[in-house]
């Protein structure tokens, strides 16, 4: 007789909550933790993780530092509240972050750096937290990503390379990885392979448009909820916009629709909801228009 609840979860297995705004990192760690015999829950931002932690009381938390809504260290401070519950914490960072490492020391959390040594380091930390779960993985997951990126990925899909180039150049300066596809078919394949945190997609593309992208994404396991932001050069009527946001057959639609020429400040501010973008909205410190608009010839 097994000790499982009605959902089939083994109640004896320690519970670990994995939190990262990079879905590829979440999958990478979740697959390996399950192989270790841990019960895994996942979240893609700090606020969602805080709610899950308070509801489900995980034994351990593996959390990225840089995340939208609530950053990893703030999350740690809240779940380590002695009035709440005891929990072991592993904090990951894509950057060399001395301040985060010091705060981890003060919180009694383990600081690990994303990169080639991420899993051995996390596995070692988990083995110390759960001595009974130190079984070496003889059969590592093969379908999972082989490595974890150091920063979140944004996928840009547009049949105009000038739009792609413009966005790619600026997003990379904001500390995220960016990939570009010239149509929705290529974009879909990149999305499934690379698991971006968020997708920016042109509405109309001659080869395959955003409807194709949404239809394929939402019917692919693991891609049902990846956020998609639509950008469009044509004015869409209210009915089309509403249906695009609502989605078809109960599947998730797009988060927002942005009209070209793009208001970059508005777009980047929206992106900050889905991944840790090192971007200061211009509304707070200057004009929202491009600085070169009138200044460079």
């Amino acid at each position: 007789m097994t000790d499982t609840d009605l959902t089939g979860v083994d109640r004896r297995a320690p519970k670990v909550l994995i939190v990262d705004d990079d879905p590829a990192a979440v999958k990478f760690l979740a697959d390996r933790c399950r192989k270790m015999g841990l019960t895994v829950q996942t979240a893609t931002n700090g606020l969602q993780a805080l709610i899950m932690a308070r509801q489900n009381l995980p034994d351990a938390l593996i959390v990225d530092v840089h995340m939208p809504e609530l950053d990893g260290l703030s999350l740690c401070s809240r779940v380590l509240d002695p009035q709440q519950f005891g929990i072991d914490i592993i904090v990951m960072s894509g950057y060399a972050d001395g301040e985060a490492a010091e705060r981890c020391d003060s919180l009694g959390a383990t600081y690990v750096r994303k990169g080639p040594a991420l899993w051995p380091t996390v596995q070692s930390a988990l083995a110390q937290i759960f001595p009974g779960m130190t079984v070496e993985m003889r059969d590592p997951p093969t379908a999972a990503p082989r490595k974890v990126r150091e920063q979140p990925l944004i996928l840009v899909i547009d049949d105009d390379p000038d739009i792609g180039k413009f966005l790619t150049t600026r997003l990379r300066k904001c500390g995220v990885d960016v990939m570009f596809a010239a149509d929705a078919k290529r974009g879909y394949h990149i999305a499934v392979r690379e698991r971006p945190s968020v997708i920016i997609s042109d509405y109309f593309m001659s080869a395959a448009d955003i409807h194709f992208l949404l239809w394929r994404l939402r019917s692919t396991a693991g891609m049902e909820n990846v956020p998609v932001l639509a950008i469009t050069g044509a004015a869409l009527d209210d009915w089309t916009t509403a249906n695009l946001k609502k989605g078809e057959f109960g599947r998730r639609g797009v988060e927002r629709v942005f009209r070209k020429p793009l208001d970059i400040d508005e777009l980047f501010s929206e992106l900050k909801r889905y991944c840790a973008l090192n971007y200061q909205p211009a509304r707070s410190d200057g004009p929202a228009t491009l600085p070169h608009a009138g200044g460079l010839g």
């Binding site: 950057y95 300066k173 600085p291």
Partner: protein, 132 residues
């Protein structure tokens, strides 16, 4: 407990505003690149302008013209060529109206001429700035 202590010189990127994302040199280089790519679009537009002067507009010419106008309307403003973007958007609207029966060839041709003039103007301004 700390594993993988950070090495020096590889820190967290600073949060930057839109104005601080690219340097003035990077912005100037970006604009030069856009202007260079614009030459290809201008050649296409000039070819289509010649086609529109014919007795009958060739099949597909308006589609191709709308595609180019649509792209320029979406991208020119981003690179700081707002007037060019407006001219391209006006041309795209004319093509849409022409298809719906509300406009004529004269309007499309006039708006196409205006767009070509604007491109020529931007390239001339850039050439003068380059010489200076």
């Amino acid at each position: 407990m700390t594993a993988g202590r950070p090495p020096a010189g590889d820190g967290v990127p600073q949060r930057r505003s839109l104005a601080a994302l690219l340097s003035a040199d990077e912005l100037a280089e970006e604009r030069r690149g856009y202007l260079a790519r614009l030459r290809g679009h201008a050649l296409t537009l000039a070819r289509l302008r010649a086609a529109l002067r014919g007795a009958a507009t060739p099949a597909g010419a308006l589609d191709e013209l709308r595609t180019v106008a649509h792209k320029l309307a979406g991208s020119a403003g981003l690179y700081g060529f707002e007037a060019l973007g407006v001219a391209a958007a006006t041309l795209e609207e004319s093509i849409i109206e022409r298809r719906s029966g509300d406009g004529g060839d004269r309007t499309v041709a006039a708006d196409l001429d205006a767009l070509l003039d604007r491109i020529e103007c931007e390239q001339a301004v850039a050439a003068i700035a380059c010489d200076a």
